[in-house]
Amino acid sequence: MAMQRRNAALNHYYFSLLLVGIVVSVVSRRLEPLFMVLPLLIALLHGHLRQSTPQFTLQCQLTPLRLFEGDRVTVMLRVHAQTALPPLELWHFLPAGASCADGRHRVLLALAAGEHRTLQHEVTFARRGKYGLGRLYARVHPGTDLQPLLAEYHFDQLCSVYPHVAPLPHHLPPLSTHASFGNYVSRTAGEGLEFASIRPYSSGDRVRRVHWRTSLKRQQLYVTDYYRERNADIIILLDTLVSLGSPLANTLDVSVRAAAALAAHYLYHKDRVGLIHYGGACTWLEPATGQVQLYRVLDTLLGTQSLFSYLTADIARIPPRVLPPGALIFIITTMLDPRIDVALHDLLARGFQFVLLLISPAHVMATDHHWRASEAIAGLWRLEMELRLAELRRVGVPVVVQNSDDPLLGLYSVMSRGSLWPHTRQGWPAG
């Protein structure tokens, strides 16, 4: 990398003082002012006439490149000086939203010829997103620092910062399951891993299922029965119509974190999880299971943003493979945009079971400075929401309103009340 020499502002100051000294010396007919600026003259001449370009190599390594909010990326810088290196300033430029958690990302070092130095610092990100790291600025300060050498190095690598996944304290089993491999067991025997019973052999049973110990004891063939495995379809519908708050604390980020936590929880229990972004236009991710699906969901959540639109997305346009019958739908919304009501009515009319997770803007945007005003606003918001939710509650839709930092805190108590979802297909015309 070629280095460029630039004049520092100090040159102008030195030169101005030099002129002042000479003029004052001439005017006052004294030699002292001339002697006062003599070191500045020497420094100027030394800085401009003695110009050597030091040789060094620089390497930058970032690990890991996929992490969650609050996790740290370790940045390792290796400097090898081929010639003697005067004070070198290395600055690892951090993008907005990133901060240096440990060590310093701006270092000043001097090396002898052939010397190596490894520097390390850790970077943390407060918010999900894709961040470009690895841009380095180097500035060598030879001699008097009047003409520093500048260079820019690009070791650009993209860091994916996924939303924070908080573990749920309890499992929230869905009401309806279907035959597939999963963590739920059926009451009927069939293919699976969970032991059900031992019964006498009948024609057609597989030999590998013979329970030899019992068969030898009873002198008759017995086979082992297993329970059938089942799993469920979980759909997370994320309302991206509106986002309130600052870039660092907003309702959309809270919603995204809740969605990530739910997806990770159900995928861990081997359920199929899908994701729908309900904005001006609907985008979705088909339900699937496994670790790969978790990263698909997280990657999709990474780019979630609220885009202004006059359009109203139609639930009916979402294909059945994305919104399968019998799926449990978690709707995460602030209900600030009335267009979400249309979606809720549609889902109710189509007989879907859903849980409404209400993100409170008053809670997300609460400030310590005006806590009385915040409390009053929160109270008003809650009253308004209660009015709007009364109809949904009347038909038995479970509603969880955010009361703390964790919007999923009240989920377990709501979902463990038993049969919550009546058949609401009747009397609910599709929006």
């Binding site: 100051y13 030195y14 030169f15 500045l40 020497i42 620092d145 003409q147």
Partner: protein
């Protein structure tokens, strides 16, 4: 890191004191005291807030104050005083520039030694140059025939010198831009 910062701050404080208080050695007139205080305040605020312009202004004001003091007090020529004050001014300007880096950067071992080495080298060169000029100045009055022309030569030489220096600076700048 804190030790480096404290050390450099002490060094800068000492330079500020040496630079700004030197006029008080020759005159304690109220106006001189006021100018001295302003010079010190400018220097101090300059390196504390990393504003090089303030330090340079302090340099200019201090230069004027010291010259004024010497003229008012009608002191005999004192070249050592000029040289000492000059090195203090250089230490102040150079040190304030270095101090600005300590605000943002983590300083690895060996950096301050390199800085100090550069300063010592330049201070030594300044002393040598000062000595050479002083010898020249001392030998001039013994040659009475050219003493009358010395004033004119000084003015002409100073103008020529400034012009040459400006040319050197311009030339080296273009040279680097081409590289």
């Amino acid at each position: 890191m804190a030790a480096y910062k404290t050390g450099l701050a002490c060094w800068l404080s000492l330079s500020t004191l040496l630079w700004s208080l030197s006029p008080l050695l020759f005159s304690q007139a109220r106006s001189i005291v006021m100018l001295t205080i302003v010079t010190a305040a400018l220097a101090l605020s300059g390196w504390l807030t990393a504003t090089q312009l303030l330090v340079a202004l302090s340099g200019g004001l201090g230069l004027l104050t010291l010259t004024l003091t010497l003229v008012i007090a009608a002191q005999p020529p004192n070249l050592w005083l000029g040289l000492t004050a000059g090195i203090a001014l250089f230490a102040l300007l150079d040190g304030s520039q270095r101090f600005a880096y300590l605000r943002h950067c983590h300083v690895e071992p060996g950096v301050l030694t390199a800085w100090l080495g550069v300063f010592m080298r330049l201070a030594g060169l300044s002393l040598l140059a000062g000595l050479a000029v002083a010898l020249l100045v001392v030998s001039l009055p013994s040659r009475g025939e050219i003493a009358a022309a010395a004033g004119l030569l000084t003015i002409g030489g100073a103008s020529l010198f400034v012009a040459l220096l400006a040319l050197v600076l311009l030339y080296t700048n273009r040279w680097q831009a081409r590289d």
